[in-house]
Amino acid sequence: MSTPLALAGLGGVYSERSGVVNIALEGIMLISAFGYVIGTSASGSAWAGLLIGIGFGTAIALVHAIASISFRADQIVSGVAINFLAIGVTEFLNRKATSPRVEGLTQWNLPLFGSYSCLVYITLLLTVGTHVFLFKTPWGLRLRAAGESTEALNMLGLSRARWQYIGVMASGVLAGLGGCFLASEAHYFTKGITAGRGYVALAAVIFGNWTPYKTAAACLLFGFANALQLESRWQIPSQLLQCLPYLLTMVVLVGVIGKSKPPASLGK
């Protein structure tokens, strides 16, 4: 349950660390879930679907990047527009309530872990990879500088816009993977398949203080809240259980604000 959240959350870390608020995570996930289903049903291969899904996600992330970095549109307004765009495009192309059924991604059966979709393991690797990239490599430092101190980048003669583009595109790839995972688990596309996970992931980024490990941990918590919905032992109506992740997000944000520190020039 946490994997798509964690993937989108890691994407959010890249984008926000480079100084671009990425509320478009939701739209990226939605459109790449759609891309995955289209790609898989057209080619018959889940891997091709994955590539196409990521391609869709990256493409729409590029639109967000162009609007908010090159044209300096308000990042939140642009992100919201991207989310509408994703809804519009998917509903335009998929006018039935649900899509045809498609294959899921390969399940890997690792000893100790059990059998899960390979993306679950890839997510774990990506979390570590993101940490290493952001905090142990010169490129990570530059990406973070784009979000912290424009002057430092300028002095080095580096383009802030380029690193922001890289940050947003990386979030497109990662949130795209998250969207593909959703579609792969569900085996079909339906409107509202993301159910606000992009926004929850963004909250997880804030809760996780813009670091990969803590963000992934926060996603585990939110994923747990999501998983409770499947628990039918209690006599709680499903609609009320649906609210749980959203309520948790709000409560967590109240608790964490002030203690968690955003990149200095985020949103500018």
Partner: protein
């Protein structure tokens, strides 16, 4: 759906500058103000141009006659008085949500929560409507009041969280949209489901809570036209917003907090309090879109009734550049597009979902071209 609009347009175009000047005289707008209005309008015209080009491309790719689609679009909206009545009917909820977003924008707040606010507002109106059976003169205001209180209360949560804890309203209002939709869905399905019905909906509201149709006062409008007094209410709210923002101390404080919170604090304005009541005002206005549906259209609360009025309101606010009168026209334009898209879908095979794409592209273009809204990062601490 008859007549040729093209002829009339080519006829009037040389007269247009004169018309603008005369209109300006009537509205007592000075010459520099005209330039300012034109300058403000230019980017909007540009954005609309981009959207029209893109729209034409998509329609062309679908193998449809582009001009034919536009002809249907225009005729469907303005072809007859009846059609235009439907446009205003469709535009009514968008006027409310557009103004709600505008009021919040002016205070530097982004209220994406109109969707949730109109759901709780609509439910409150329906609840009062099917529980009581007073004469219309009491019941209608009571229902509207209940909706506004519910909408304001729902929006207040995000306002308080922003004012007290500094949590950005964007995530909270979105979360509360999901919660509002799930909550009303629960209330309808589990508690107030109309007996013997498969559709998830509440029992109908009392007849006395129905908003009267305009056709009952104005004989020249066809009796079947659903345009109702909610539209008049929308006009009133537009006037109110304009008056409130321009002429009252509260409106001034609201704009000051939006433009320069530090200055506002220095000037003795309680930024937190302004934030909370602005959200409440915004939520109260947004809830009227729910009133439109429950009391003016379906006469009951239908689960999941809104096709995203709250989100289209954002487009209306951006298109109208947060000016109440302009937002009114933007909402009517979007309402026309909305109705036109339906007719286009009937007559050609251009799906109406194209409207969703157009709307998103419009917001993107407008945001890219001109819109600068005072805002900070998502987790700004106040």
């Amino acid at each position: 759906m008859n007549g040729h609009p093209n002829n009339t347009i080519s006829h009037t175009s040389p007269v247009l500058p004169f018309v603008i000047v005369i209109m300006a005289r009537i509205l007592s707008i000075s010459r520099p103000q005209i330039t300012r209005i034109l300058r403000a309008g230019l980017p909007i015209a540009f954005a609309l141009g981009i959207v029209i080009v893109l729209n034409s491309l998509i329609i062309g790719m679908l193998g449809q006659n582009v001009l034919e689609v536009y002809r249907i679009l225009v005729l469907s909206a303005f072809g007859s008085l009846d059609d235009f009545g439907y446009v205003l009917f469709n535009a009514t909820p968008l006027i409310f949500t557009g103004l709600a977003v505008t009021i919040a924008f002016k205070c530097g707040l982004f209220n994406i929560g109109c969707e949730g606010q109109l759901y709780v507002g609509g439910f409150a109106a329906a609840w009062v409507g099917f529980h009581f059976n007073f004469p219309a003169i009491i019941l209608i205001p009571l229902c509207v009041l209940a909706a506004m209180v519910a909408g304001a209360g729902w929006a207040a949560v995000a306002g308080i969280l922003k004012a007290k804890f500094g949590v950005h309203e964007v995530i909270n209002t979105i979360m509360m949209n999901f919660i509002a939709i799930a909550l009303t869905s629960y209330l309808v399905a589990e508690i107030y489901q109309e007996a013997g019905q498969m559709t998830p909906q509440t029992p109908p509201i009392s007849d006395t809570a129905h908003l009267p149709r305009i056709a009952t006062f104005l004989a020249f409008i066809p009796k079947s036209n659903p345009l109702n007094v909610a539209f008049l209410l929308a006009l009133l709210v537009t006037l109110f917003c304009q008056f409130f923002l321009k002429r009252t101390q509260y409106g001034y404080e609201l704009k000051l907090v939006g433009d320069a919170p530090e200055v506002a604090t220095y000037g003795g304005v309680h930024v937190g309090a302004v934030t909370v009541w602005t959200m409440m005002l915004s939520g109260a206005i947004a809830s009227l879109a729910g009133v439109w549906d429950v009391m003016g259209y379906r006469h009951r609360f239908l689960d999941n009734f809104s096709p995203g009025f709250g989100y289209t309101g954002i487009a209306a606010a951006l298109l109208g550049r947060n000016h109440p009168y302009a937002v009114l026209f933007a909402a009517i334009l979007l309402g026309a597009l909305n109705k036109g898209a339906l007719d286009v879908e009937i007559w050609t095979n251009v799906p109406r979902e194209l409207f969703l794409i157009i709307q998103a592209v419009l917001i993107l273009c407008l945001a890219s071209i001109q819109f600068k809204w005072h805002a900070g990062p998502l987790s700004k601490t106040t």
